[in-house]
Amino acid sequence: MAANNYKHALFCAIVTLIISFPILGLNLEAEGVKITVTGAETSTHIAILLAAVVVFVFQAFRDSFMGALGKLPKLNPLVNKKPMEQSKRVKLESWIMTGLVVLALFWPFFVSRGSVDLATLVLIYIMLALGLNVVVGLAGLLDLGYVAFYAVGAYTFALLSEYLGASFWVALPAGALLAALFGLVLGFPVLRLRGDYLAIVTLGFGEIIRILLNNWTNLTGGPNGIGGIPDPTLFGMEFGRRVKEEGNTSFHETFGIAYSGEHKVIFLYLIALVLAVITALVIRRFMRMPVGRAWEALREDEIAARSLGLSRTAVKLSAFTIGAFFAGFAGTVFASKQGFISPESFVFLESAIILAIVVLGGMGSQLGVILAAIAVTILPELAREFSEYRMLIFGAAMVLMMVWRPQGMLPMRRIHIKLKKQE
């Protein structure tokens, strides 16, 4: 057993050496047209050796390491705490939610423009995560191409404004509805698929949308994207220094205050906040409605659900459509915030991040997802110096999370419908 361990460890160390030495230990240098190979500095060689030693030690004593990791949960102070009573927690959660919203309402007037901008992005991610939560958390359909609907929302606004001069308020419902339509259309072919297969097909769908946007140069401008997307207006009042469209007035003139670039940012933030709150409330309501129960029933046991007369088609399509609808919302706000969009913004990584938010927060749990969205969006900004390691930190956080709390930060507690005692 032990000898076997050492053999395995030695093998791993040698593999480490073989892989890392040519990559890190040898440098290619160009001399005119020739390329010569030179050795790297001694410190690099030492680092490679050290890495091999670390790999060896870890592999050799792997069992004891992993055993120690298994005991780590005991370090977690929350482990032995008894879960709060159901009704109490529900109440507490609604209070926290209300508190967050009130705080968020006044907060932008006291902080810098950059922070408000970031907060708007957080709100967009909250909308996205809440929408995906319906599909993944409630209906249990793993969707890896969610960003496609986000893109549809954003591009709807961009194209409508580019070709038809539509304003934000026209584009908002249009973007959401079109995204919902795409959700419906995607839903049909994937109805029969489950789990891994579904994930792959949705992944493909996400990429198709992105590649389509990238290559349909006539319409979308391809990789150059679309710029000049207008800011939202408040009852026809624009937030720019000068009015762009005839007939409109500008915000600062109407109210007789000095022009400030911050007005626009704060206004957009408030729109995003209102939309995020609407998203949260609507989905919360859905969860208690027959359609929400049907999603969960289908997730829990599809065969039983069908035997009780639930149509798989209707239930899955409704989840896809509603999830996509809110992604469309978020996309419109995003387009307006950036003023410029290109397919770059809708790569697979976005889908992965949104999914990570849902998983980290706790599938199906709204407050958890909101907190996770805040954490995942803000942390990389705070740790700008480490931006290269952003993904590494992210990965490490995910691993630790799965070891300690596989159910997410705030696992979902279902909002039970209580049966009142009969008199």
């Binding site: 609507v282 309501r285 859905f286 409605m289 027959p290 359609v291 129960r293 049907a294 969960e296 029933a297 829990e300 046991d301 065969i303 039983a304 659900a305 069908r306 035997s307 009780l308 007369g309 639930l310 149509s311 798989r312 409704s318 279902r414 039970h416 419908i417 209580k418 049966l419 009969q422």
Partner: protein, 251 residues
């Protein structure tokens, strides 16, 4: 009300069900018995729309239903339970019953979001019906528990209640007594009889517990290796030589 004519089901080279014929009249309890692997559950799966039968007809109230999707069949009023209990374990007991009443509810999303009177009224009715059936199967005290936390016998009863809130005309029970102790089996026995007597439901029953089958069945169909072996009243089946040989053992 239910007629199964020459039903066959083939899986590749295996003929799991071969020319099975049975019928169920209104307010009748009909049992299907047979050794393990005889094809009883396959017959159920064909009847409830999980399988598309390879041959034969299934008539429910005069209409052909073979090959229809399962959720449509259950909407017609044929609802089944499962050999292994299939509850929505993370949902509460009462929610299990609400899901089952999906088609009785106002599922218009706008109505739900706005909370229209019609929506509320139907939601309340569903809760009332759920409460009634929970009381009926003796689970009212546990209404707000997670269904997964119930004891096995309670889960079985909840599954039957979940079928009954859909207001079926025909109830298909797949080994409802499996895993129950004698006292629980007795309760089940009374429950099934009362479903027939008080709620005018016909019952098709697959069961291995002979005392239960003989007690409550109006008629019994015996299947052996996919083929019908005999059918008749419990008394006739008890004395049928073929059945005794194939199933009860030569005594």
């Amino acid at each position: 009300m239910l007629e199964v004519q020459n039903l066959s089901m083939r899986f590749g080279g295996l003929l799991a069900v071969d020319q099975v014929t049975l019928d169920v009249q209104e307010r009748e309890i009909v049992s299907i018995i047979g050794p393990n692997g005889a094809g009883k559950t396959t017959v159920f799966n064909c009847m409830s729309g999980f399988y598309k039968p390879s041959g034969g007809k299934i008539l429910f109230e005069g209409k052909e239903v073979q090959g229809k999707p399962d959720h449509k069949i259950s909407k017609l009023g044929m609802v089944r339970t499962f050999q292994h209990v299939r509850l929505f374990t993370q949902m509460s007991v009462v929610e299990n019953l609400l899901v089952a009443q999906h088609r009785h509810l106002n599922t218009n999303m706008l109505a739900g979001l706005l909370g229209t009177p019609n929506y509320k009224e139907r939601e309340q009715k569903a809760l009332d019906r759920a409460a009634y059936w929970l009381e009926r199967v003796g689970l009212l005290e546990l209404a707000n528990r997670d269904a997964g936390n119930l004891a096995y016998g309670q889960q079985r009863r909840l599954e039957i209640a979940r079928c009954m809130v859909t207001e079926p005309k025909l109830l298909m029970l797949d080994e409802p007594a499996a895993g129950l102790n004698p006292a629980e089996t007795k309760e089940l026995n009374q429950l099934i009889i009362s479903l027939k007597e008080d709620y005018n439901v016909s019952v098709v029953l697959i069961e291995h517990d002979m005392s239960l089958v003989m007690d409550i069945s109006d008629r019994i169909n015996v299947i052996n290796q996919g083929r019908p072996l005999a059918s008749g009243t419990p008394e006739e089946i008890r004395q049928n030589d073929d059945v005794i040989k194939a199933y009860l053992g030569e005594a």
